[in-house]
C-alpha cells in the first residue's frame, strides 16, 4: 500500500479537529449556530450564550479531545512496548486500578475531586505494582510485562465486580456510567495542556520507537539503551492513560484502534504516528461525545458506547482497503 504523505495526513487531521471541536460547541440543550460560536469565542456575544459555550461546552469538548488524544498516544506506545498489535492503554491494568479507586470514592460518597484523586491514585498504584512485579529480578521482557499486567488487570476486575455487588442500588448507575467511560464529570480544559506536554515528551522517543519495533535485541544492536528506553515509554504511556481514565473513565476502543488506523494510512514512522494519533484520537472522541450528548437528548449516552459504534466500521473499511491494495501490488 502506498502510504499517504505525513504532512498531508497531519494537515487534514488538524483541519478536521478544528471543525469537529467547533461543531461540538454548537450542540447542547440549546442549539447554537456556527456564527454565534465564533462570536462567543472571538468577539461579542449575548452573555448567557457566551457563558454556556465557554464555561460548559468548551471545557467538555477540550477534555474529550485531550482524553482521546492521550488514549491514542498511550496505545501507540504500549503496542510498541509490548510489540503486540492487540495491546491497548488498559492492557496492563491501569484502568482497573483507576476504576477501583473511583468506585471506592463513589461508595464512600465523596465528591468529584476525591473521585478524580481516587482514580489517579488507583492508576498509579496499579502502574507501580505491575512494574515492580514484572521488573522483579531478571529480564524485563515484553511477554513478562504483558502477562503481569493482564493478571493484575484480572485482579482489579474481581475487585470491581465485588464493589458493584455490594454497592447500594442508587449508586450503581453512576458507577456503571463511569466504568463505560463518561465525560460528564469533565469540567476543565487544562487536560489539553497535559496532552500537549505528553506529546512533546513522546516526540524525542519517536524514532527510537521505530527501532523498537524490530525487537529488543535488534534495537540494542542499533544503539538503543533498552532498559531506560522501555522504562520511559512505560512511564509516559501509563501516566497518560492514568490522566485519561481519571478524567473520563475507561473509554474503550480508541487506544487500540486509532494507532492501527494510522499505521494502515501512513506507515510505521512514529514521528508521524504520534502526533497523528493524538489528533485522530482526540477528534474521534469529541465527535463521539457530541453524538452521545445529542442522539437521545435530553438524555446522554456514555461516550464509550459511541466510540466503538463509530470506530469499528471505519477501522474495518481501512483494513479492507489496505488488504486490497497490498494484494494487487
Amino acid at each position: 500500500m502506498k502510504s499517504v504523505s505525513a504532512t498531508a495526513v497531519l494537515s487534514v487531521l488538524l483541519v478536521v479537529s478544528a471543525i469537529v471541536l467547533l461543531h461540538a460547541l454548537t450542540i447542547g440543550s440549546v442549539t447554537t449556530d456556527f456564527a454565534s460560536v465564533w462570536n462567543a469565542l472571538w468577539g461579542d456575544a449575548e452573555n448567557t450564550q457566551q457563558r454556556v459555550i465557554l464555561e460548559l461546552r468548551w471545557p467538555r469538548a477540550a477534555s474529550a479531545f485531550a482524553v482521546g488524544g492521550m488514549l491514542a498516544l498511550a496505545g501507540t506506545m504500549m503496542q510498541v512496548l509490548l510489540r503486540n498489535p492487540l495491546a491497548d492503554p488498559y492492557i496492563l491494568g491501569i484502568s482497573g486500578g483507576a476504576s477501583v479507586g473511583a468506585l471506592v470514592s463513589m461508595l464512600l460518597g465523596l465528591g468529584t475531586l476525591w473521585l478524580n484523586a481516587g482514580a489517579f491514585t488507583g492508576a498509579l498504584l496499579s502502574m507501580l505494582l505491575v512494574f515492580g512485579i514484572a521488573h522483579g529480578h531478571g529480564s524485563w521482557t515484553s511477554s513478562r510485562l504483558l502477562l503481569t499486567g493482564v493478571v493484575v488487570a484480572f485482579a482489579w476486575g474481581a475487585v470491581i465486580s465485588f464493589i458493584l455487588s455490594v454497592a447500594p442500588e442508587q449508586q450503581l448507575r453512576n458507577m456503571l456510567f463511569w466504568l463505560m467511560g463518561d465525560l460528564s464529570f469533565a469540567s476543565s480544559s487544562r487536560s489539553l495542556w497535559l496532552l500537549l506536554i505528553g506529546l512533546l515528551l513522546a516526540m524525542p522517543l519517536a524514532r527510537t520507537l521505530n527501532v523498537m519495533l524490530k525487537g529488543d535485541l535488534q534495537a540494542a544492536a542499533l544503539g538503543v539503551s533498552i532498559r531506560p528506553t522501555r522504562f520511559k515509554i512505560y512511564l509516559l504511556a501509563s501516566v497518560l492513560t492514568s490522566l485519561a481514565v481519571t478524567t473520563a473513565g475507561s473509554i474503550g476502543f480508541i487506544g487500540l484502534v486509532v494507532p492501527h488506523m494510522l499505521r494502515l494510512l501512513t506507515g510505521s514512522d512514529h514521528r508521524t504516528l504520534l502526533p497523528a494519533s493524538a489528533l485522530l484520537g482526540g477528534l474521534i472522541l469529541v465527535f463521539a461525545d457530541s453524538l452521545a450528548r445529542s442522539v437521545i437528548a435530553p438524555q446522554q449516552l456514555p461516550v464509550g458506547v459511541l466510540t466503538a459504534f463509530l470506530g469499528v466500521p471505519l477501522f474495518l473499511y481501512l483494513l479492507q482497503r489496505g488488504n486490497r491494495i497490498t494484494r494487487h501490488e
Binding site: 502506498k2 516526540m203 524514532r207 535488534q218 514521528r271
Partner: protein, 263 residues
C-alpha cells in the same frame, strides 16, 4: 589494526560452557567464520561479542575500548549485528525498515537527510531489492526479508559486522552473491566480518580465519587454511567428512559429508 579482540573470554549458557579463556584478534579487513553444531552457543558468543550479553570472565575490546565501557549508541556506530530471526508485527514499508539503520547517527529530533536515503537506496540495490522500496513488509518472502535485514545492516555501515547465519533462507545464487558482497565490504572498505555459518565450504572459501566450537568449552581458532581439515570437522560435527582437493586458484579443499556412513 585490531578491530575486535577478546582476552581470556569465557562464555557459558545455562551452565554449559561455550568457550573457555578464548583469545581472538580480528583485524580490519579480515573475515572470521564461526562453525559448530546446533546449540553449541554460536549465537550466544556472537551476542556476547556485540556486548549484548555479559561474559563469565574476560574482556572484549572494540577498537581498543572495553565494549562494556561504551554506551549502546557508540557501539552501534562501530559494530552491527544481523540476527538469525526477524519479525515485524506491524505494517511498514521496506524503505522505512532500511532507514532504521541510520538510527545510531541521528540525534533525537533529527530527520534522515538525502544522504541517509541515498545510502539506504544503495544498500537495497546491493542486495537486489532496488525495486522494493515501497513494498509492505508483510508481502516479503523469507529470503527477501533476510536480504532486507542485510540492507539495513549495510545502511548502518559499521566497521565490524557480526552476522548470524546470513545465508539462511537464501538460494545458492544469493548465498554466493551476499558472501561476495561481504567480501567486498572487507576488502574494499576494510570492514571486519564475523560470520556464523553452517556450510563448511562457504567458510573455507570466504573466511580468513575460523573458530571451531566443540561444545564443551573447547575451541580452536586460527587461519582457515591451517584449521580446516577432514579430521577436525569429523570431530566437530561428529560425522565422517571427506576432503577433496578443490579446483581453482585458491587451492582450498572442498569438504563433503560421508553420505552413507554405515557402509
Amino acid at each position: 589494526m585490531s578491530s575486535l579482540s577478546t582476552t581470556k573470554l569465557s562464555v557459558s549458557i545455562a551452565g554449559k560452557s561455550v568457550c573457555d579463556e578464548l583469545d581472538l584478534d580480528l583485524d580490519s579487513g579480515q573475515t572470521l567464520g564461526i562453525l559448530g553444531t546446533n546449540g553449541v552457543g554460536k549465537t550466544t558468543l556472537l551476542l556476547t561479542l556485540a556486548g549484548l550479553r555479559s561474559a563469565e570472565t574476560g574482556t572484549i575490546k572494540l577498537f581498543g575500548d572495553n565494549i562494556h565501557s561504551l554506551d549502546r549508541r557508540a557501539i552501534a556506530q562501530k559494530l552491527g549485528l544481523l540476527l538469525q530471526h526477524d519479525h515485524d508485527p506491524f505494517p511498514g514499508s521496506v524503505m522505512e525498515a532500511t532507514l532504521v539503520g541510520r538510527h545510531p547517527y541521528l540525534k533525537a529530533w533529527q530527520m534522515e537527510g538525502p544522504e541517509d536515503r541515498q545510502r539506504a537506496r544503495a544498500s537495497l540495490a546491493a542486495v537486489g531489492l532496488a525495486d522494493f522500496q515501497q513494498r509492505q513488509l508483510a508481502t516479503l518472502s523469507g529470503g527477501e526479508r533476510r536480504r532486507l535485514a542485510i540492507a539495513t545492516l549495510l545502511t548502518q555501515d559499521p566497521e565490524v559486522m557480526l552476522l548470524d547465519e546470513p545465508t539462511s533462507h537464501l538460494d545458492i545464487h544469493y548465498q554466493i552473491a551476499l558472501l561476495n558482497l561481504f567480501r567486498a565490504q572487507s576488502q574494499q572498505h576494510n570492514k571486519s566480518i564475523v560470520l556464523v555459518l553452517h556450510d563448511v565450504n562457504l567458510a573455507s572459501h570466504f573466511c580468513d580465519k575460523v573458530l571451531l566450537l566443540y561444545g564443551n568449552g573447547e575451541a580452536e581458532y586460527g587461519n582457515t587454511r591451517d584449521i580446516l581439515s577432514a579430521e577436525r570437522l569429523h570431530r566437530l560435527y561428529d560425522h565422517p567428512i571427506i576432503a577433496i582437493h578443490g579446483p581453482g586458484p585458491l587451492n582450498n579443499n572442498i569438504f563433503l559429508p560421508d553420505f552413507d556412513p554405515q557402509q
